[in-house]
């Protein structure tokens, strides 16, 4: 059993152990949907919601799997549950915010293959978190993901005004920005007990 306190887990997953910048989970939306602040914010919130749902269902599913000694099915069951949760969010966004639905485009269904979502489910099982700890882990992960996405979007909006050399344009400059962000997040190391 893991003894990390709730505050400890929350702070660690938001700052020094940020899902995107320290553990490299969810890189595709991080590089793909971070052009504008107006799409980065809802994308972050939608992903945070899916992470929460996936983490809660993964916790109970895992109890069930352990009970019947079916641990080898964990990957298959987790990914199926996540796909259902994403479908739910997609239907909700399409009904209530059709404009937003068009802007997010392909990236909304792609939350299914967002490593951050599956990562939460797998890591919380691997670290044997109890229910409250899993909850804190998923909430912290969601906030951390949204934070990274928003920071990145803000930086990239600024980049449009600056003169970038042709060779570095496109993916390369975004990756460099990600590296700088990640470097600055390393400065938070030690907050929340550290790892």
């Amino acid at each position: 059993m893991n003894n990390d306190t709730v505050a400890n887990i929350l702070l660690t997953t938001i700052l020094p152990g940020n899902f995107v910048l320290a553990m490299f989970l969810g890189m595709c939306p991080f590089l793909g949907v971070s052009q504008k602040l107006s799409t980065a914010v809802p994308m972050g919130i939608a992903t945070a919601f899916v992470i929460l749902v996936a983490s809660l269902s993964a916790y109970f599913l895992n109890m069930l799997l352990v009970h019947y000694h079916l641990e080898f099915l964990s990957v298959i069951t987790f990914i199926t549950v996540i796909a259902c949760a994403v479908q739910l969010v997609e239907m909700f966004v399409k009904k209530t915010f059709p404009e937003l639905f068009r802007q997010l485009g392909i990236y909304l269904p792609l939350i299914t293959t967002n490593c951050a979502v599956l990562g939460v489910a797998l890591f919380q099982t691997a670290r044997q978190y109890n229910f409250i700890q899993s909850l804190a882990y998923s909430i912290g992960g969601g906030i951390g993901f949204t934070l990274a996405l928003i920071l990145m979007a803000g930086l990239r909006e600024r980049m449009q005004l600056s003169n970038v050399p042709t060779l570095v344009q496109g993916a390369a400059i975004s990756v460099v920005l990600g590296g700088l962000l990640s470097l600055s997040f390393m400065g938070f190391a030690g907050i929340g007990g550290g790892e």
Binding site: A22, F24, F72, I79, T80, T112, V117, L118, L122, L167
Partner: protein
């Protein structure tokens, strides 16, 4: 126009459509496990196996899977092979299993796999589909190896665990930490962009001379 031969499709994934440097897909394992060359190779080979096996199966079942549930079916197929690889690595080398951690299971969420299944394997007969997937997997492995060896050389002064520079080498530790992954990847992306730039220029010059 003749159909591309199977061998061309195989080469496509290694160079022209390299998943990491040209299509910029599958970034999570690319950055997370490339702290050393040996980790990179094992991750690449594991992904290659899952990619080739699931593309073969998807291609065989392509007429049996209804269109509405195809994504879900692909994911279940991929997840099955990932579970196989996960247990195989655990049985072969426990050290490696601990080094790669949950990232083996996260192969399921690798965009390359679903992308290949949807864009190629679902529309082609088994042989070209598998060859293409195999090429893609090898291209991915080469990309990982390129990033992994640079990070290991700079960050630890070693390659495949062998010391390169002797005991007085001061390692550039940040390269094996998360930011280093971003910087090395950016460096390779710039190198590839430069290559493309040069070849475009040369083609333009040749075209100018001929006409």
């Amino acid at each position: 126009m003749s159909a591309p031969s199977s061998f061309d499709e195989f080469l496509d994934g290694i160079w022209k459509q390299n998943p990491i440097f040209v299509m910029v897909l599958g970034m999570c394992p690319t950055l997370a496990v490339t702290v050393s060359a040996i980790n990179s190779i094992s991750m690449g080979l594991a992904t290659t196996f899952v990619l080739a096996a699931s593309c073969l199966l998807v291609s065989l079942l392509r007429s049996a899977i209804p269109k509405q549930v195809r994504i879900a079916s692909y994911i279940v197929i991929i997840a099955t092979f990932v579970t196989v690889v996960d247990y195989a690595i655990q049985a072969i080398s426990l050290d490696l299993y601990e080094a790669l951690g949950a990232y083996i299971k996260l192969i399921v969420a690798n965009c390359i796999l679903l992308g290949r299944a949807e864009a190629h394997a679902a529309k082609n007969p088994p042989l070209p589909a598998t060859l293409n997937a195999f090429g893609m997997g090898l291209g991915f492995t080469l990309g990982l190896l390129a990033i992994g060896s640079v990070r290991e050389i700079l960050g630890a002064g070693k390659l495949f665990g062998l010391s390169l520079f002797g005991p007085h080498f001061q390692p550039w530790v940040v390269m094996v930490l998360p930011p280093g992954g971003f910087f090395v990847l950016a460096g390779w992306l710039i190198v590839f962009a430069a290559f493309r730039h040069i070849s475009i220029k040369r083609n333009a010059q040749l075209g100018g001379v001929q006409s």
